[in-house]
């Protein structure tokens, strides 16, 4: 009968030694884990132990199931095979240990017998093959293909760390097979064919004869055990640490809406200057980073030649938190202000991170410190000063905010005086920017002709503060939000609607934190969708355009709204051709996070907006890029000029399409301002 002959050919002292070594490995491992945990507990407090069930489920889906890792096909399969190969072999080892050291030792019963054992051997053999295939793919990718995102790491210590992991896993796999093969070569059990790989190796070794094979088996067994224990002990000291940190990090991930930023730990002195000022969870982020570089690949700032790589931020902070002294300052020497200011807050990085790191929160906390120190770009400083003084970044009088309404008849209601159903939060760009006037007027006209009960706040509106907050100027955000909230509280309305996804995000996710939930917030694409579906807005002409659509970061990735604008376009008779990067993979226009208020540094090769309009222009038969965000419109209209696509690609706001499909014209000629 097939039975697992544990410690076949192994003398008793080696068996004992193995247990002692195992114990030692566990001790070294434990010390390393404690050392790690103690380090990240030096961070600031942060509560992350609610919703245990969703957290556990996350771990199941993302760590065990590798869901995000698989988004990227080649590295996804590569990692899945390695991971599951190792897990299966590890489970096999555990089963064998239980079989021998628990059930056999105490009850004299072995369960790895007969068909169970045969199946066990077969499965392990197959997973061993998976492991080696995965490792082969990894070696090929890392050392032959050499994608950018695996190259140019900050510091050089990682070359060996990366190689070490691969070497150890390859050695464990190969020595494992050899030990099995040699055992089969000598013992030649009847059930050998159930271990196809081991059997094949065994057959190859039969020629060498018994004594030498027996010795070889013995020697390789020792090597195999040694490598396995070294690998185990080294987990908390090497890249293997992500095996633990990754799932733990996924467990403790933020369950807040993506659009709700955490407030700074200290209100008086917001921001992070030293590594200990980060929360323990942020420190855990840095530790969990596996340097896979997916975030760098999708980062619009990185693609444009900015010095920022979210991957490097994680790596550098991890390195720094372990060697903080060195006479280096974290801000300035390790992380430069340029890197931090390059971020567009698009969230592509944290949306793709397989271990659910929040690169953006680290960047923001460091930005907060820069703001506190007054270390800001002169143009950004102007914008912030204007926002503080006038409530808009343009430095125009708040009394001019509703100047665009001058030609509108009947006069738009003032929500501060008249009760309405919809409060239209117009936003800075739609109110003040010359390129937006037509769109804003058209929106008013569409609302009015559809009989929507709406009003605006006139000079009572302030910038919503979304981007102010993401610049790191928390105090100014609070001030702007307070002013708007006071105005809201004095007005009667049911729903806020805005064309600006940035305002939409903060109004929806951040204004309501303090329990101001008596209204809901809609993006205009959502409202237009509802109005068309309900028949309130009638489409009189099917446009028949072939268009593409850019998902605004703050509508899509931040708030998951991908369908409403698409439904509107389809209702207007537009054929939508998707860009390669669409929906959650949308590519930021470069305006977010306050970048629209900052100067691009000279090293910028191709601005994100240029990159994006080229993507749109490359679609066959498409000459219209539809946007649903005032900043997108401004950015892309400019990019069309600088990328030399004038006359080839037209940037239209969703409201332009509505205007055409409902055959509405702005009665007054464009106002001279």
């Amino acid at each position: 009968m097939p039975i697992r002959e544990t410690f076949w050919n192994i003398p008793h002292w080696a068996e004992i030694a193995q247990y002692l070594l195992g114990l030692l490995a566990i001790l070294i491992f434990s010390y390393g884990v404690i050392r790690r945990v103690r380090r990240w507990l030096k961070g600031q407090p942060e509560r992350r132990i609610d919703h245990i069930r969703s957290r556990l489920w996350s771990v199941v889906v993302q760590a065990v199931g590798q869901a995000r890792t698989l988004h990227d096909i080649y590295p996804g399969i590569m990692h899945l095979t390695i991971f599951w190969g190792m897990i299966a072999l590890f489970i096999g080892t555990i089963l064998a240990t239980v079989d021998w050291d628990v059930t056999h030792l105490f009850f004299n019963v072995q369960f790895l017998t007969s068909w169970v054992y045969v199946l066990y051997e077969l499965i392990l053999d197959i997973f061993g093959v998976f492991l080696l295939i995965g490792l082969g793919m990894a070696i090929y990718r890392r050392y032959i293909v050499r994608p950018d995102r695996l190259a140019n790491m900050p510091g050089n210590g990682f070359i060996w760390d990366d190689a070490y992991v691969l070497i150890m896993l390859v050695l464990i796999g190969i020595t494992g097979y050899l030990v099995e093969g040699l055992r089969i070569a000598v013992a030649q059990p009847d059930w050998a064919p159930w271990s196809p790989v081991g059997n094949a190796i065994g057959n190859a070794f039969i020629a060498f004869g018994d004594p030498s094979n027996r010795f070889l088996h013995y020697a390789l067994w020792i090597i195999h055990i040694l490598i396995a224990f070294v690998a185990l002990a080294s987990i908390p000291y090497t890249k293997f640490w992500h095996l633990i940190a990754g799932p733990v990090n996924i467990f403790f991930r933020s369950l807040e809406p993506a659009g709700r930023m955490s407030a700074p730990v200290s209100e008086d002195e917001p921001g992070v200057k030293e590594w200990r000022d980060f929360t323990w969870k942020q420190l855990l982020d840095f530790e969990s980073c596996t340097r896979c570089g997916r975030c760098q690949d999708v980062c619009p700032a990185h693609a444009s030649g900015f010095s920022l790589s979210p991957r490097d931020i994680m790596i550098k902070l991890d390195t720094y938190m372990w060697q903080p002294a060195n006479g280096h300052n974290m801000l300035g020497d390790v992380i430069s202000a340029d890197e931090l200011w390059a971020c567009t807050s698009c969230l592509a990085c944290l949306n793709i991170c397989p271990v659910f790191n929040d690169q953006f929160s680290a960047i923001i906390d460091m930005r907060r410190y820069l703001v506190l120190e007054g270390d800001v770009d002169p143009q950004l400083q102007d914008a912030l000063a204007n926002l503080g003084r006038y409530g808009n970044s343009f430095g125009k009088s708040d009394r001019m905010r509703a100047k665009w309404t001058k030609s509108i008849q009947p006069k738009i209601k003032d929500v501060r005086r008249d009760e309405v159903e919809y409060l239209w939060f117009v936003g800075d760009y739609a109110s003040y920017h010359a390129s937006m006037t037509d769109k804003t007027l058209m929106m008013a006209k569409v609302f009015q002709s559809a009989g929507l009960d709406f009003g605006i706040l006139y000079d009572g509106e302030r910038n919503s503060g979304n981007d102010v907050r993401r610049v790191g100027e928390e105090g100014l955000f609070d001030m702007l939000a307070e002013k708007n909230l006071v105005t809201f509280s004095k007005s009667t309305f049911k729903t806020i609607v805005t064309s600006d996804p940035h305002s939409f995000n903060t109004l929806k996710n951040e204004y309501s934190e303090n329990g101001n939930d008596h209204y809901s917030v809609l993006h205009y694409s959502q409202l237009l969708d509802q109005m068309i579906t309900s028949g309130q807005l009638k489409v009189s002409r099917k446009l028949g355009y072939k268009v593409t659509y850019h998902d605004p970061c703050y509508l899509g990735r931040y708030n998951g709204e991908y369908d409403a604008p698409r439904r509107v376009m389809s209702a207007l008779g537009c054929e939508l051709v998707e860009m390669p990067r669409n929906k959650e993979n949308t590519f930021c226009c470069g305006a977010g996070g306050g970048r629209i208020w900052m100067e691009d540094p000279p090293e910028v090769t191709e601005r994100p907006a240029e990159n994006r309009v080229k993507e749109a222009a490359s679609l066959p038969g498409v000459s219209t890029l539809v946007v649903a965000c005032p900043k997108d419109l401004v950015m892309f209209q400019d990019a069309v000029k600088t990328a030399d696509l004038e006359g080839k690609l037209f940037v239209k706001d969703l409201i332009d399409l509505i205007g055409e499909a409902t055959e509405m014209n702005l009665a007054e000629p464009k106002e001279q301002n």
Binding site: E267, D268, E269, P270, V371, L372, G374, V376, P378, Q381, L384, A385, G388, R389, Y390, G395, K396, S397, R399, E473, E474, G475, L476, D478, M479
Partner: protein, 254 residues
């Protein structure tokens, strides 16, 4: 080393200015007051000097609506002492009156250096820096763009038109009119200002009666007629561009 900076709130030109019913003054109801930009530079210069030499910085301002904000902002930048001059500003004050009020205040404070923006766009009776210097019998240098302090003397760089500057040495104490600080005024995070509001204290000094002698009386104030001089070219963008090109040709520059 004691540095006193004098700051003033003046009408913000971003807003449309209106004349009141009397026809001789601005309509205050529509005004937004902001710190005189050059005074902001003077504060920055004082803070830079403090950072270089460890001087003490006092910021002093007339008590007009919004003064607390500018004083707390100055404190957030590093000013140690904040003083506002309380008085009846509603009935109108000019630089002569203010300078007279400040003269005894300055004598009490005994500064080594008085910094003030070299001018303000509302000055009709001269600028306050040299008026104050005159009353205090101190030397004055205006249009200053940088300051070095050494052994009871200051070396100030004064700007002349055409990019020419001159280095002048002067014995302290002195009043300097700042044209531009060596670095642009720094950004102060709102949280820092809020913290200053909790910790810093604003001292109040009484102005007493204002003596306006020395300044003129305004009989009429008005906005210059729109486009008084210019021939306005209008039409579509195309038409305007064509007209402009025509004018360029006529004038022989194209």
């Amino acid at each position: 080393m004691n540095i006193v900076v004098l700051a003033k709130l003046i009408p913000d030109l971003v807003e449309e200015l209106e004349i009141d019913d009397s026809g001789t003054a601005l309509d205050m109801t529509w005004l937004r007051l902001i710190i005189n930009e050059l005074d902001d530079h003077a504060i920055e210069e004082a803070i830079l000097l403090k950072e270089r030499t460890g001087a003490n910085v006092t910021v002093l301002a007339p008590d007009i609506e919004g003064v607390d904000d500018i004083l707390f902002t100055a404190a957030a930048k590093g000013a140690e002492r904040l003083i506002k001059i309380v008085g009846d500003y509603e009935s109108g004050v000019n630089n002569h009156a203010l300078a007279r009020v400040l003269t005894p205040v300055m004598k009490d404070l005994q500064p080594d250096l008085i910094l003030v923006g070299v001018e303000a766009h509302e000055d009709l009776d001269g600028s306050i820096g040299p008026l104050l210097a005159g009353y205090l019998d101190l030397p004055f240098i205006g249009y200053v763009a940088s300051i070095e302090l050494e052994d009871g003397k200051a070396t100030a760089t004064k700007e002349y038109p055409g990019g020419l500057s001159v280095e002048m040495e002067v014995t302290l104490p002195v009043v300097l009119g700042i044209q531009v600080a060596e670095e642009p005024p720094r950004y102060v995070a709102v949280s820092k200002v809020r913290q200053a509001m909790k910790t810093a204290e604003i001292e109040e000094l009484e102005a007493g009666d204002f003596d306006l002698a020395g300044g003129p009386t305004i009989d009429r104030m008005y906005q210059p007629e729109v486009s008084e001089g210019a021939t306005i070219i209008d039409g579509s963008l195309d038409d305007i561009a064509d007209s402009l090109i025509g004018i360029f040709k006529e004038l022989g520059v194209q």
